[in-house]
Symmetry: C2
Subunit: 402 residues, 2 copies
Amino acid sequence: MIKEVHGGVTAPKGFRASGIHCGVKKEKKDLSLIVSDVPASGAAVLTTNKVQAAPVLVAKEQLRRSTTFRGIVVNSGNANACTGERGMNDAWAMAKAAAAALGADPHEVFVSSTGVIGQYLPIGKIIAGIPVAAGALSVDGGAAAAEAMMTTDTFRKECAVRFDCNGVPATIGGMAKGSGMIAPNMATMLAFVTTDAAVAPHLLQRALLRATERSFNRISVDGDTSTNDMVVVLANGMSGAPPVTDDAGVSYQTFEAALEYVLVALSKMIVTDGEGATKFVEINVTGAATEEVAVRAARAIANSNLVKTAIHGEDANWGRILAAVGYSGIDFDPSLVEIGFGNVPILRKNYTIEFSEEEAKRVLAQKEICITVDLHQGESQASFWTCDLSKAYVDINANYRT
Amino acid sequence: MIKEVHGGVTAPKGFRASGIHCGVKKEKKDLSLIVSDVPASGAAVLTTNKVQAAPVLVAKEQLRRSTTFRGIVVNSGNANACTGERGMNDAWAMAKAAAAALGADPHEVFVSSTGVIGQYLPIGKIIAGIPVAAGALSVDGGAAAAEAMMTTDTFRKECAVRFDCNGVPATIGGMAKGSGMIAPNMATMLAFVTTDAAVAPHLLQRALLRATERSFNRISVDGDTSTNDMVVVLANGMSGAPPVTDDAGVSYQTFEAALEYVLVALSKMIVTDGEGATKFVEINVTGAATEEVAVRAARAIANSNLVKTAIHGEDANWGRILAAVGYSGIDFDPSLVEIGFGNVPILRKNYTIEFSEEEAKRVLAQKEICITVDLHQGESQASFWTCDLSKAYVDINANYRT
């Protein structure tokens, strides 16, 4: 039983958080701190972009050096990416300042940054802000922390679930940011997840990889993969539930399902809040030979500017969907494909088109649209989430730096 | 010596063309015919999309069956794609009607369609229009033919060159259409090229493949690969120049260079006329280990919505360029990369950033922008052409069918 509960990263026991304004941005909150009261096991998934921001490189080093973790410090307003040696020094300075405030080792505090690329951090302001953020830590601070890492986001993204862990209730809570530079295949953006379950590091990493593959790696806003993508999960065992130690056991399966639930919920929020998005789009590819084939086809559809603009215009342009599957690289027989919008069949086998434009229009006029594509070649399926492409996306991104 | 001359497909000797209105579109011209007075050798490059429009499938069959060709019939306003068996019958009906009007075999007349996907051709109107188009054929008809295959294009695209072919002047002329569904790696769209040089079919095919690789395959408007992409070249030998028979000879080299010249010119016109485009962007990646690496990096930049919107906003957001190279899949050292806009260096090695925003702004305010990216890893380079992403692109594509 996985049950959604109120809150985010401070919903699990033994986690506190805060979000404050330290001066990277003009007025809005820009510094988040998440802390586990006791050393926690940690796992992370990092961007696959060859250009990796300083915090990503620091996290790699920390994961090599440390087996326990105490917290995460995040600034918004500046991504500390493409900033060379000075950027690395700044990222470590953030880790050290947060560690000092928490009485931890610098290798135990993850650092994360999001915002404009290619400018140096105003590191003095951040270092001065960290003790203030530490002073503001609270068991109700999850929402403030989620808010302080927003950039072009229009709402904060939190989710928490309760589940049965070896007979004891445990909780997973998460927060995410992101609405642009969201790309297929490694679209992680920033997401931080806490749990009071006790999970061994290698199992935590395994569960995180699998859940990320089925959540953040299945969303797309603009097809651009960020240099800063980072998902971190901390597990501190404070629920008192017996440790999850065996990946064949029920508790691991439940933990993994609960984690996937939280990450999928956060992923959908990211897409809903996609830059300039007016519609949330779920793409379900069914009847595929393998899950990989289904994902590949779905990703091509989700990434097509032509499909996304047609959805924006509420135009039942199914030909663009079929064309996108056609260039996705999968092997299939186009004459077998069936396409539907919501519960309205649009294209049937052998290119048979029998639908009322009015009915299709009614589905496409909704805020949440489900596109189904049946390849009729096998039993596998996958879901993928994206948003429409609007003129507001162009507005937001034409002058992002200014 | 390759010299640009006036005109398009009727610039070479022995070719006539016409463009008329037959009723697929409401008012504009929608039917083009190009004819060689004598049987010509032919070659074609067709879309790699798995979903192939009927005319593409017909062309494949024609290339298998016939060694000589007489002409090309093209309609705009409807792509005859995803139309199943009826679409195939319609495409063959077009070939037969054109062949009858020209006294040729149906296998000798290529068919091409462009416009909306997934609707049946108004084949009666086209069949009725073909004799009219045949009656209008003229040695000055290239411009009308180029005009009649336009869809969202805002200007017709023609280019012709004269070159020395074994001591005798010969001519290559071409026309193209396209401004949306222009995608990397197989972005051909429709382009029809004629020459009065005599070129053996296998050499014609080889030259066309290479020239396409360096022209139409190096442009991108929106990253969507069409179901109808088609480039055809006809060589009728009417210049009287001795045949090009040896691919090691000077005449083949010159022919190939002249063909590449025409295709590159047409490619640049397509990008300049990209849907909603306000700027033409040339991306030069240099210092690459191989040409393939350079193309791959350039394509990722050209395809990035974030780069394209930044250019639209005249924002010197070099970080997005570097991030795109980072996810392009190539192997490189980000700290060695140098980026420039026009002649203004923006990023130097080791992430050194020393540029005046005003100077960058001045370059970006121009209509034609050149972005240079030096990977500092080798001696290879490649050019790629694209346009910016504007709100007008969204407008054009949100309601394309209506």
